[in-house]
């Protein structure tokens, strides 16, 4: 117990003592996971909406794959992204392995099925006739999609939170494709694993607390947006 309190005190010391390394890895975590969430938002909402509004052979199989993808193990993603970006791999020529970009790619692969699955459910839970009603008001197809997304904004923001939560907390893929290189690809999760391995539990707890605070801050902000501007 004393160890945990010590870790929490250490965390606040590192934050408010403006420890340069801690701030750098915190901001890098935020940048990598934030970018990956944005990419997954674009891809996932588009794919989820398309799956919700269209009917084609093989759609059910695709939906099942998306739902399976929502629980994609980060180490599996890390493995396949590593193989792809490996020097002799199909994308090895890009030289991205052990860079923040590789981590963004891996985290996007993890978050996209999560955002897709929740977006699909969000659109499907709207009244089936709402789509017809929007068209009956004279909407173009794009206006209809925009209005449907607006109606589903609460669960869509939940999709953003779930996507961000999934990637800010993952460690397997980040360590495999990023390598936990100090000053380059070290993020909060990989640093926590490393410090725990070294027996520096107080620093590991401090990093965990910072990770939790960061996750809370982002989710709090998203929740404020989600719950705001609803008329009474």
């Amino acid at each position: 117990m004393e160890l945990i309190w010590q870790g929490i005190r250490e965390a606040f010391g590192l934050i408010f003592g403006f420890d340069a390394e801690v701030w750098r890895i915190s901001l890098l975590s935020l940048r990598i996971s934030g970018t990956a969430t944005f990419i997954s938002l674009f891809l996932g909402v588009s794919a989820g909406t398309a799956l919700a509004l269209t009917r084609f052979p093989g759609r059910r199989l695709l939906v099942s794959l998306v739902n399976t993808g929502m629980g994609l193990p980060p180490v599996v993603v890390g493995l396949f992204v590593s193989i792809s970006l490996w020097r002799n791999g199909p994308l090895g020529v890009l030289g991205l392995l052990y860079t923040p970009t590789a981590m963004i790619i891996a985290q996007s692969v993890i978050a996209t099925p999560i955002v897709t699955g929740i977006s699909l459910a969000a659109i499907q839970q709207l009244p089936p006739k709402l789509r017809l009603q929007i068209l009956a008001l004279g909407a173009t197809r794009w206006q209809m999609v925009r209005l449907l997304l607006r109606e589903a904004r609460l669960p869509l923001l939940a999709a953003v939170m779930a996507g961000f939560g999934g990637v800010i907390s993952e460690v397997g893929a980040s360590i495999m494709v990023g390598g936990n290189i100090k000053g380059s690809t070290r993020v909060l999760t990989t640093a926590t694993v490393m410090e725990t391995g070294r027996g520096n539990f107080d620093i590991a707890i401090a990093l965990s607390v910072i990770l939790l605070l960061l996750t809370f801050a982002v989710n709090y902000l998203l929740t404020r947006i989600q719950q705001a501007e609803r008329p009474r």
Binding site: Q133, L135, A136, L137, G138, T140, E151, P231, R232
Partner: protein, 379 residues
């Protein structure tokens, strides 16, 4: 229908779902400013027809003409769709304010803000929901929500308004009030309206013509009086509330009038004598029916006059003595089943029922106006 060129015309439209025809309509024309009611049981194809008329659902065959011009398919139908508005049974309001909802169709047309505000406010006023403008649509009652839905549809000043059972989920007072306001608005704006309902009284209230649909096919179209009084077949008759369908044979007329003999019925005529056959003087029979042919005599319960035994009302020909078999309360009326050699159902007001003591076992006289009796082909 008048000779005015139709604003909307359907030619040979077929809509298929799941490999089956859910709508097959050789022809239907709606005149400008007309209110056409579509009635029919659930699954008759009313909603499908409205979706077809709205340009949202594409038929697999046939064409839709608006002011004589063919409505194109797909995205090209947008210009037509923007001249039409549709209201569904559920209000389907957006998760925003009431004003935001009523303005939605106007925003989709990218109208200037001032114009949106003016037209939305005007429509809110028309449906008496302006005081709710800033309220969240989620907090409205069923009646208020449907008013907002109608205000949203009419805010875009559609040339054609399609209504898909918009009052079905409302309680009777809310329905009455909204029906009144809608009828007034349609009259004031002259909007051509196609109104689907399974309630014939709603259809009667606001329709210039009534079309009866069943299994995706048009069974009859005409004025409300035509359809209710002169149904084309037993399905339409039963659907429009003709509860007495008696098998009859059309008989030669004696003195200019037409007569029908009820098949297999003996009757107790006025005065207490019994007879082996009952004749009715009738108002008419379906076109093409020959004398001597068998048919079904249509008698609406509200046209059966129930009186005290021996009470004479006009010609004795259409009067029968009977005994009340059962009495069931139905809304403001009592549904009285009378055994008079045949079973005839009458709708009796509470006032009359009390005055002449209508209860099971009591003797009554029933009288029928010839003009209210119509014979349709059997089968």
């Amino acid at each position: 229908m008048s000779a005015v060129a139709p604003i909307l015309e359907v030619r040979g439209i077929r809509i298929r779902r799941g490999g089956e025809d859910v709508l097959n309509l050789p022809h239907l024309a709606v005149a400008p400013g007309e209110t056409l009611s579509l009635i029919g049981p659930n699954g008759a194809g009313k909603s499908t027809l409205l979706l077809g008329l709205s340009g949202i659902e594409q038929p697999c065959a046939g064409e839709l003409l608006f002011r004589g011009e063919r409505v194109p398919a797909g995205a090209a139908a947008l210009a037509y769709r923007r001249r039409v508005a549709m209201v569904f049974q559920e209000p389907l309001l957006f998760d925003t304010t009431v004003f935001g909802n009523v303005a939605a169709g106007l925003k989709l047309r990218s109208l200037p803000q001032a114009e949106i505000a003016r037209r939305a406010t005007e429509s809110l006023d028309r449906f008496k929901v302006r005081h709710l403008a800033d309220r969240s649509a989620r907090t409205l009652s069923g009646g208020e929500a449907q008013r907002v839905s109608l205000a949203r549809a009419l805010a875009v000043a559609p040339e054609i308004l399609l209504l898909d059972e918009p009052f079905a989920a409302l309680d009777p007072p809310a329905r009455e009030e909204l029906l009144e306001d809608l009828a007034h608005t349609l009259h004031a704006t002259g909007t051509t309206t196609v109104f689907a309902t399974h309630d014939r009284t709603e259809a009667q209230r606001i329709a210039d013509r009534v079309a009866v649909l069943d299994c995706g096919r048009l069974r009859q179209i005409g004025t409300a009086e035509d359809v209710l009084r002169r149904p084309v077949d037993s399905f339409v008759a039963a659907f429009v509330g003709v509860e007495n369908l008696l098998p009859v044979r059309l008989m030669a007329s004696g003195a200019g009038g037409a007569f029908a003999a009820v098949l297999g019925a003996g009757g107790a005529l006025e005065g207490g004598t019994t007879t082996g056959c009952v004749f009715f003087e009738i108002g008419g029979a379906a076109p093409g029916m020959l004398l001597g042919s068998e048919g079904l005599l249509c008698i609406r319960p509200e046209d059966v006059l129930v009186a005290a035994p021996g009470d004479r009302r006009g010609s004795s020909l259409n009067q029968l003595q009977g005994t009340v078999a059962s009495v069931v309360a139905q809304g403001p009326f009592l549904k009285v089943s009378i055994d008079c050699g045949m079973r005839i159902v009458a709708a009796v007001s509470g006032h009359v029922a009390r005055a002449i003591s209508v209860e099971p076992g009591s003797a009554v006289t029933i009288a029928l106006r010839p003009a209210d009796l119509y014979v349709i082909p059997r089968g």
